[in-house]
Symmetry: C2
Subunit: 146 residues, 2 copies
DNA sequence: GTACACCTTGTAGTGGCTACAAGGTCAATC
DNA sequence: GATTGACCTTGTAGCCACTACAAGGTGTAC
């Protein structure tokens, strides 16, 4: 895709492979107003992108990899696009709130893991189902309670 | 809800409060064939449950709390309901496979947490957005890479 | 002109529910 | 037997962040 000014225009597929975000996801982001609607040659024609769009999509991909929700990504993009002289207090707030959420999730998953491990460790896997400690734990609650 | 034989029949709401599973979730489990269709007084009439259903739902709730998927729960229930003399090899297999998945999730979340923490720790939260290390990490990838 | 890759929009599906809406049932009271 | 009111019924839509199609249109090279 090349226009008349020597600038290379990217198709959605090219943007996808350069940004590491699938074309379907890019269209989804447009629908969800995470990214602005792309320029077009006309209605029903192909979307046209440039290098700035590659960077924007990479930004989104990295934020998503760090677990930020699309709502948070929208906020981070707005801050990134806003006044460069404003202090990044809000960026910090969003990131720290997200970290707190991740920590909570880790704690819950860790507790679950410990309980699951405990339940499993009580069963050798060869006794009859009727005596299986895993099933009895599920049937009657934690063995330590009984 | 009382029938003519002295046995108490439970409504879905009573089953919900006794099992700790919401009535909507119980109906959902029935639709998804996690539990068999409940007895009824007739078409369109109320579902009728008993004590065995309370235990079954508690079993499901505990398995869900340990993070088992509904597919896994279906398997565990089938094993629990099957021949009591069969060895619990399959139960063990399912549980250990699930534990491995949980461990993987924990590892990924832990790595994400570390990266997020690293990114955040580089930013005091008061510098201009233009210099914010969180945003620059999102824009240009991990700082350690550059 | 024709082949072919890529794009377009729209819709449905994922998991495990929750949240409604519009109407029906049940038990108790009058 | 009528009414009240709590609870139930089915059906549908929504959540999150996409992915996976289907049917057809566009862009480009030969």
């Amino acid at each position: 895709m090349v226009n008349g000014q020597g600038d290379t225009t990217l198709s959605i597929g090219e943007l996808a492979s350069r940004s590491g975000v699938s074309a379907e996801a890019i269209r989804y982001y447009e629908r969800e107003h995470v990214v602005p609607a792309a320029a077009r040659g006309g209605p029903g024609r192909y979307r046209q992108y440039d290098e700035a769009d590659v960077e924007r999509l990479q930004f989104i991909r990295r934020a998503r990899e760090l677990g930020f929700s699309l709502d948070e990504v929208r906020e981070l993009l707005a801050l990134n696009d806003g006044s460069p002289s404003r202090p990044c207090t809000d960026v910090n707030r969003i990131a720290r709130a997200h970290l707190a959420q991740v920590d909570e999730k880790l704690a819950r998953l860790g507790a679950l893991r410990a309980e699951l491990d405990r339940v499993i460790s009580e069963c050798a896997g060869v006794v009859p189902v009727a005596d299986c400690r895993i099933l009895s734990a599920l049937s009657g609650g934690p063995a330590s309670d009984r």
